[in-house]
């Protein structure tokens, strides 16, 4: 595993862990569900899930057998699946409160993920091709919630950007919606790039180096978006200085 991959995936894992802890601390103060759900999702998927998958890839590259790597992959997949469901629940709560189709979508996603995860957990370890198919089916199903969140964030950014131009919203908030969309979009690409490679490449082999590099660079972009969106440094905040903090939303 190269330096770029270590830096890219490492930054993603660290940023997810820091944001997850921060949101859970906020949840303890406010008692509001969205921060609890999102905090748990960043810890489960970005921190725990990716760290376990990272360990699995490292051990696989080091020559360990599929049976030895399996517990790490399973743990990583569990983290990714849990995070996906939490993200979907968070999106329903934040962007589509009270809308039946959103709740139904979360339940359907949960059912599909449960089926695929159970299949992977019980699949014979020596059937490398079959297992990889089920693994990718689970990952790509899990990626749907991130795709949904990406679309919602960019839609919200579009509305808040227009509002900010007439003083009805904070430009910093409009920018945060964009950065949040970029963070979720980066996660979607972290799933899609290796998946496309898997479709066109020998499924029994590990992902090619350039694929891992490209995917890890999106991990880095996700970490950057999280940093600017939730921990904006002074120079970045100055871009929005003098703008109203909130607009009349009611």
């Amino acid at each position: 595993m190269g330096l770029v991959q270590v830096v890219g995936y490492g930054a993603f894992i660290v940023a997810s862990a820091v944001l997850g802890v921060r949101l859970l601390r906020l949840w303890r103060q406010t008692g509001e569900v969205p921060e609890g759900v999102l905090g748990a999702s960043f810890l489960a998927g970005g921190a725990f899930g990716y760290a376990a998958l990272f360990a699995a890839a490292y051990q696989s590259a080091a020559g360990l057998s599929p049976a030895e790597v399996h517990p790490y992959t399973l743990a990583g997949l569990l983290g990714a699946c849990s995070a996906s469901l939490l993200i979907a629940r968070g999106s329903a709560l934040i962007f589509r409160p009270g809308q039946t189709w959103a709740t139904a979508g979360v339940l359907a996603l949960g059912a599909a993920i449960a089926v695929f995860f159970s299949a992977f957990a019980t699949w014979p370890v020596d059937d490398v091709v079959g297992r990889s198919r089920v693994l990718w089916a689970t990952f790509m199903t899990a990626s749907l919630s991130y795709t949904w969140s990406t679309v919602e964030c960019f839609q919200l950014h579009g509305l808040l950007d227009k509002r900010a131009r007439v003083g009805l919203a904070s430009p910093l908030l409009a920018d945060r919606a964009r950065l949040w969309g970029l963070a979720f979009g980066s996660v979607v690409l972290m799933y899609w790039i290796p998946f496309v490679d898997y479709l066109v490449h020998d499924p029994t082999l590990a992902a090619r180096a350039w694929v891992q590099t490209a995917s890890s660079l999106f991990g880095l972009s996700c970490a950057g978006a999280i940093w600017l969106g939730f921990f904006p440094p002074a120079f970045y905040r100055r871009r929005f200085a003098g703008a109203p903090s909130t607009g009349p939303n009611a």
């Binding site: 919200l156 808040l160 227009k162 949040w180």
Partner: protein, 103 residues
């Protein structure tokens, strides 16, 4: 009697003051509201006051209507004076959560 929405009220006032057809008056107000990133179904009186100040004059001027400024002034004051029905601003609620998450 049910309270009308702020959006319905300004549409009616524009129609009455300008002799525009109801669909044209409504479409003009709708364009201005959309330009501000708001939803005509849920826009509040406070938000509409900003739209009336910042965006509606240009939309009405594009239709070559006379006395746009006094009309917009009357709308602005009427929005502050009257009580209106207000829906839930989904984007506003989401923005509130986003602001809280970034604290």
């Amino acid at each position: 009697m049910a309270v009308e929405s702020a959006f319905d009220w300004i549409c009616r006032e524009i129609e009455r003051a300008t002799k525009l057809d109801a669909p044209v008056a409504r479409g003009t107000a709708r364009l201005a509201v959309k330009e501000a990133g708001l939803d005509p179904e849920t826009v509040s009186a406070a938000q509409l006051r900003v739209v009336v100040r910042e965006l509606l004059p240009a939309e009405l001027n594009a239709l070559r209507i006379g006395d746009v400024e006094p009309l917009c002034e009357r709308l602005f004051e009427g929005l502050a004076r009257n009580t209106f029905d207000t829906g839930t601003d989904r984007a506003g609620s989401a923005a509130d959560v986003l602001e809280r998450l970034g604290r």
